[in-house]
């Protein structure tokens, strides 16, 4: 460079917003391997979420409840429509379905211990019910999945509720995956598969299609279980109004609605990030479907997908949910992505908070693995205690907000307690934009 050139101002290198470094890295990875990226977890992209809502709190028009004196109830009963034995929970935060296979036996035990200590339910996954899980879970929901791995009538009758899984938020319309690394002897036996193969779970049920068939399937399950336990229907967030209405029509006691932030053990990144609706966008249409059918609160609604705090719990319930379910957050409470494993995350080419190669079975925290040495790192008693603490904190947080809004039960939270920080959130949650009495699509406004 000569003296003249040095005097010319240089342009600053500009990274393309379209071809960003992460995008370019994925293009290079795809070109090198010829296979799409598979990972665990839910959508990482930023979408309108509960953070975009605020509670209004009490004012002259409403008075609050005293936080240290006046009771704010948190109990919830699920399955009141048909089941002879509805599930009664102390708190409205449940543990979502996660399989033995995707998770270690220690992690499943810890989930059961933590949930039971907090007075709530946990849920099996795509792989059947293990004795440890049943033994450590005071309330266990048994998932009825397209793969039917491990399905048998004895476990059905041992369950406190049955959850027919039609879809999940991370991959609505897609089936499950468990790569060969995690098909250990025990997992293979439970799933009736050869050890070490890539296990693909079907995307739809093998013996029914459509809502009319679902109604008959629910009848069969009720007849097998003597109409004793609630039957949930879980759907991924895609067409929440119609899916909720059809689940109710088919005879569900409870609808579980999972938004796109909901996690998975393993699926294609393109699926996780580009299919489905944000959780926030799912709740009001589902509640409207229940209200239109006169079934709101008679058929309970459980919302999942990105629930992290008591504020999220309170917001979901204010929008009309009866309870929420957590998956990823529960794993983090157990110890997933803990900074104490940073050196090992680095060896795996990732970092704390970003580790999502759950399908590879090399989880340093011993949670998403079938490696006996790694799994032994997780103490199920201690991890269960952490989960219990976390569930208790979430509940206390939700109670704090409810009392501030003047409610003596979390179920009394209502949309009128909320406002939105963004137009998008206002439209999705159908609550006013902060400082206004308007939201996009509000009836009678012409917008």
């Amino acid at each position: 460079m000569n003296e003249h050139d040095k005097r010319i101002p240089q342009t600053v290198p500009i990274q393309s917003a379209t071809f960003s470094n992460p995008i370019n890295a994925e293009i290079r990875r795809a070109a090198a391997t010829g296979i799409y990226d598979i990972r665990g977890g839910g959508a990482k992209r930023k979408v309108p979420h509960f953070d975009d809502l605020l509670f209004l709190g009490a004012s002259i028009s409403r008075y609050p409840l005293e936080g240290y004196r006046e009771k704010c109830d948190t109990r919830v009963t699920l399955g009141t429509r048909f089941a002879k034995k509805p599930i009664e929970l102390d708190i409205p935060v449940t543990i979502a379905g996660m399989s033995f296979g995707a998770l270690s036996a220690q992690a499943k035990e810890a989930l059961g211990r933590g949930a039971s200590a907090a007075g709530t339910s946990t849920t099996t996954g795509d792989g059947g019910m293990t004795p440890e899980e049943r033994g450590h879970s005071s309330k266990l929901v048994y998932q009825y999945l397209p793969s039917r791995y491990g399905m048998n009538p004895d476990d059905l009758r041992r369950a406190d509720a049955i959850e027919i899984v039609v879809g999940q938020g991370a991959k609505p319309g897609g089936g499950g995956m468990l790569l060969g690394q995690k098909i250990s002897d025990r997992v293979a036996e439970m799933r009736t598969l050869p050890k070490g193969i890539d296990q693909r779970s079907a995307c739809r049920h093998p013996d029914w299609t459509g809502p009319d068939d679902l109604e008959i399937k629910i009848l069969e399950l009720r007849e097998i279980t003597g109409w004793q336990v609630p039957i949930y229907v879980k759907v991924g967030g895609t067409r929440p109004y119609y899916d909720t209405a059809l689940a109710v029509k088919a005879g569900a006691d409870v609808v579980v609605l999972d938004g796109m932030q909901g996690g998975t053990a393993a699926t294609q990144d393109v699926f996780i990030e580009h299919v489905g609706l944000p959780t926030l966008a799912c709740i009001r249409p589902a509640v409207r479907a229940l209200q239109d059918l006169g079934m709101h609160r008679e058929v309970q609604l459980i919302v999942s997908g990105g629930i992290r705090t008591g504020a999220d719990v309170a917001k979901a319930m204010a929008l009309g949910a009866d309870a929420v379910a957590i998956g990823t957050a529960a794993l983090i409470a157990l110890g997933d992505n803990d900074p104490k494993w940073e050196a090992e995350y680095q060896k795996l080419g990732t970092t704390t908070g970003a580790y999502d190669d759950w399908h590879e079975g090399r989880d340093p925290a011993g949670i998403t693995t079938q490696d006996p040495d790694l799994a032994a790192r997780l103490d199920p008693v201690e991890a269960g205690r952490r989960l219990r603490n976390y569930l208790k904190v979430m509940t206390l947080e939700a109670q704090t907000i409810a009392r501030a809004c003047g409610h003596n039960h979390l179920h009394n939270l209502e949309p009128e307690d909320l406002c939105a920080l963004t137009m998008e959130a206002a439209a999705m949650a159908q609550v006013p934009l902060a400082g206004t009495d308007w939201y996009p699509g509000k009836p009678g406004t012409g917008y």
Partner: protein, 227 residues
């Protein structure tokens, strides 16, 4: 012989009565009259009893059966003997789609034809069909034996795992990763036993065996066209 008449008793009463039978029950012979195509007849049984259904059934007859023998004198609707664990289910007529779906054990005998997806996702059940079977049968079949004395429709054994398929007649087409395999003496023995238990007069030597090529067991981008 105990008789339950579905013209006068409810489905719940019938299933509750049959499900209440224990291993040592003396009431081992049961007859269901007037099924009239009802769904979920004789589901969730778990005792060594014999139940004869006089007529045709709707969806999921004998679903999740354990130990019991359920004999339907007519035809069966979709999902007969779905997820059966053990015991025997016999259909004198035809069976609709998904017969024996996800079954884990026991023997399902269909004396007529079976529609599409017979034995879908089977996990150990033995199914013997005297007639023909429809398309996509034994899709993702994991374990057990499917014996077809007639013809098989399109895409037999698509994405098959370790289930064994035996067909005496023609196969319209094989599904992804399903191939014809050598019939060895042990397979002839399996066939002979199943045909005898099903009460079907056919020679094992007349059948061909199909199974998984096991090329899709672990993902390989060069097989992407098969997915």
């Amino acid at each position: 012989m105990q008789t339950i008449d579905l013209a006068t008793q409810t489905l719940r009463e019938m299933n509750a009565t049959l499900q209440a039978q224990k291993d040592q029950t003396n009431a081992t012979q049961w007859e269901i009259e007037n099924p009239r195509g009802a769904h979920a007849i004789a589901v969730g049984l778990d005792a060594p009893i014999e139940v004869t259904v006089r007529g045709s059934t709707g969806y999921y007859c004998a679903g999740m059966n354990k130990q019991a023998t359920v004999h339907v004198t007519g035809s069966a609707g979709p999902g007969v003997a779905e997820n059966m664990m053990s015991g025997t289910v016999i259909i004198d007529g035809d069976a609709s789609q998904y017969a024996g779906a996800t079954g884990r054990g026991g023997l399902l005998v269909i004396k007529g034809n079976a529609a599409s997806r017979c034995g879908i996702s089977m996990k150990g059940i033995d199914i013997v069909v005297q007639g023909n079977i429809g398309h996509m049968s034994a899709f993702m079949g994991q374990a057990g034996n499917l014996v077809v004395c007639g013809d098989a429709g399109d895409a037999l054994g698509d994405s098959l795992y370790e289930a064994r398929l035996f067909v005496r007649g023609s196969v319209k087409s094989l599904g992804a990763d399903c191939i014809e395999k050598e019939m060895r003496p042990e397979h002839l023995e399996i066939l002979r036993d199943l045909l005898a238990r099903a009460g079907i007069d056919a020679k094992p030597e007349e059948f061909r065996r199909y199974g998984s090529a096991r090329k899709l067991y672990n993902f390989d981008v060069d097989n992407a066209a098969a997915y």
